[in-house]
């Protein structure tokens, strides 16, 4: 519990830093957002009044305090272009991003862990050396190919082959039950490769432990040892890594949502940049970053629950 509170405090320091850094970065741009908002032809009087109304004349620090104060009440400002509260826009996009990410994570973890286990079993197999080593290499090569594919590539390949050539799934949108499949696979693809590599190397490391030798001395087969003895312990680093994947998944969601036309947070951020909508961009990035940080906190906590050694050391 004490560790948890310490982590929470550290997280708050970082969060304040994140908001401050973002706040400064979005405000050192030459040219006032008001000109973007009203267009080039607006009269000076209108511009002045708007600047005053948005509080852009106040010192930066005052603006920051006011922003944080409002944000704590759930008010992230109003979108310039869409003219709706940023928090409402985020809340309407959030469920879609969550649904997409959950399915992507299920795909990544399922495929990744199974591929990692098969690979590790093959690596440790004594019989059929040639075949099993081939399978191991094939899986690990495939995992590295998965890691090396840009997200938009997976999206476009899936669209071309599974939605156009073989019309199994809808091409885009997010309204049919099956429409989550392709975006989720596209988004989970990279993580699946990372999880597979991690599972394999962690399993192989655990296989060096003494209690594995004991099990082997008792005459258990290599698959039995992996599934009954090694798997549970080898999952510890994989759990942490899964949480770290949340960050890269939310990065990937930006692209997946754009390609598949899903109304999610990532697409909202892209729209915000394209229309130079500062409050919207600020809101989406802060919101996403908080999600990432909560994910990391959950992973840390889970890790110390799963592994008592960490608790004692910490």
């Amino acid at each position: 519990m004490r560790i948890f509170l310490k982590r929470l405090a550290g997280m708050l320091v970082v969060l304040v830093g994140v908001v401050l850094l973002l706040f400064i970065m979005l405000r050192i741009i030459p040219g006032s957002p008001v000109t973007t908002l009203l267009g080039e032809r607006a009269s000076q009087q209108v511009i002045d009044r708007m600047t005053e109304e948005l509080g852009l004349n106040d010192p930066l620090f005052m603006q920051f305090l006011r922003y944080v104060g409002n944000a704590l009440h759930g008010d992230f400002g109003t979108s310039y272009k869409l003219n709706r509260p940023v928090s409402a826009l985020i809340m309407s996009a959030f469920p879609n991003t969550v649904r997409l990410s959950i399915f992507a994570a299920l795909f990544a973890w399922g495929v990744g862990i199974i591929a990692g286990i098969i690979s590790a079993i093959c690596k440790n197999q004594q019989r059929f050396r040639l075949l099993s080593s081939l399978i191991d290499r094939l899986f690990m090569g495939g995992a590295l190919v998965g890691v090396s594919m840009p997200v938009f590539m997976t999206c476009l390949f899936l669209q071309y082959f599974l939605a156009y050539r073989v019309q199994l799934f809808p091409l885009s949108g997010f309204d049919q039950p099956l429409s989550v499949v392709l975006p989720a696979i596209a988004l989970g693809w990279n993580s699946a490769g990372t999880v597979a590599r991690m599972t394999r190397s962690s399993l192989l490391e655990v296989m060096q432990a003494d209690y594995i030798s004991t099990a082997r001395a008792k005459g258990r087969g290599s698959a039995g040892i992996i599934l009954c003895h090694a798997l549970k312990n080898s999952m510890l680093p994989v759990v942490t890594m899964m949480a770290l994947q949340i960050s890269s998944m939310l990065s990937g969601a930006v692209i997946t949502e754009t390609v598949f036309g899903i109304n999610g947070i990532g697409r909202l951020a892209v729209t915000a940049i394209q229309s130079r909508d500062m409050p919207l961009l600020q809101g989406t990035v802060i919101f996403t970053t908080i999600l990432v940080m909560l994910g990391n906190l959950a992973a840390d906590t889970l890790y110390s629950v799963l592994d008592p050694r960490i608790r004692r050391e910490g």
Partner: protein, 303 residues
């Protein structure tokens, strides 16, 4: 735990050095070890070929990247246009070759700059400790808290979309992980006897960091470099794909994918070709990085 692992790797290297006798001997064996990894060697050759094609693009490419053939718009792959042409009648293969210039440069230059920033901050942070360490590490935490693509997008928003600004953005945002690695190396190295000895004869902190601490970080830095290059290439192509990176008519692979997207179903080569090009380069760097890590930094493998 991290520090313990590193001590091992160091002592292992020292063992190796004492067995073989001199430093050159170690380098020879490391190179030999790397040459045993056929995939890494093959990847290095692929990277070399692409680099040569990028440098000599005007000689290698059959057409210029902006040369328009109005008679052959959207033509499928053929003898005259190996990978077909795009909607303006430009040769896709030639544009791929010119695009490799941007991809390789954007992979290498910003990574070098960000690694320089990371090394300096990591050394200072680990060596001096205390408040300096706290501030630098919290700054690194803040940078790492952002999803990387979103941070890059925000920087591009601030700087404005252009090819040069991608370089600046990627150089500014990728230093944090390097700083962490260098810091953890520095923390364990500064306890070593030779640093103690150097300090006792009055060698200045700057010299100690440069001559005694930094050289021991080099193996990890080489590995980090080969693994950071592909991620920078992916960031550039993602930004350009979203339309906030390189601007037309530049030949950027990410931009080519975006432009080809509307022709995905009838002229699929327009987006699939640059996609495959990106994948090959990234894969080659990843394989090479994996091979180098096995040789240079065996204990980093599971992190």
């Amino acid at each position: 735990m991290e520090e313990k692992k590193m001590d091992l790797s160091q002592s292992q290297q020292e063992d190796l050095a004492s067995q073989i006798g001199d430093e050159n001997g170690v380098k020879d064996t490391l190179l030999e070890l790397l040459l045993h990894n056929k995939l890494a060697v093959f990847s290095a050759v692929v990277i070399l070929i692409i680099a040569l094609a990028a440098i000599f693009a005007p000689v290698v490419a059959p057409y210029s990247f902006e040369e328009i053939d109005p008679m052959a718009r959207l033509s499928p792959p053929s003898a005259t246009h190996i990978l077909g042409t795009d909607e303006l009648g430009r040769d896709v293969f030639s544009r791929l070759i010119y695009g490799s210039r941007l991809s390789l440069l954007v992979g290498i230059l910003p990574t070098l700059v960000s690694m320089f920033i990371g090394v300096v901050l990591g050394l200072v942070s680990g060596y001096f400790g205390g408040k300096v360490d706290y501030v630098i590490m919290r700054l690194a935490d803040i940078m790492l808290a952002f999803p990387s693509l979103l941070l890059a997008m925000v920087v591009m928003y601030t700087l404005g979309s252009s090819t040069i600004n991608i370089f600046v953005a990627l150089a500014l945002i990728n230093w944090a992980s390097v700083a962490r690695v260098v810091r953890s190396h520095t923390l364990s190295l500064k306890e070593s006897e030779y640093v103690e000895a150097a300090r006792s004869i009055g060698v200045s902190s700057g010299i100690i960091m440069l001559r005694h601490v930094l050289p021991n970080c080099v193996p990890s830095l080489i590995v980090l470099f080969t693994l950071n290059v592909p991620s920078a290439i992916l960031s550039e192509s993602s930004l350009s794909f979203l339309g906030i990176g390189a601007q037309r008519p530049a030949a950027s692979w990410g931009l080519m994918v975006t432009d080809g997207q509307q022709f995905l179903f009838n002229q699929p080569w327009l987006c699939l070709a640059p996609c495959v090009a990106i994948m090959i380069v990234v894969l080659a760097f990843n394989f090479l990085g994996d091979g180098l890590r096995d040789v240079l930094d065996p204990y980093m493998k599971n992190q």
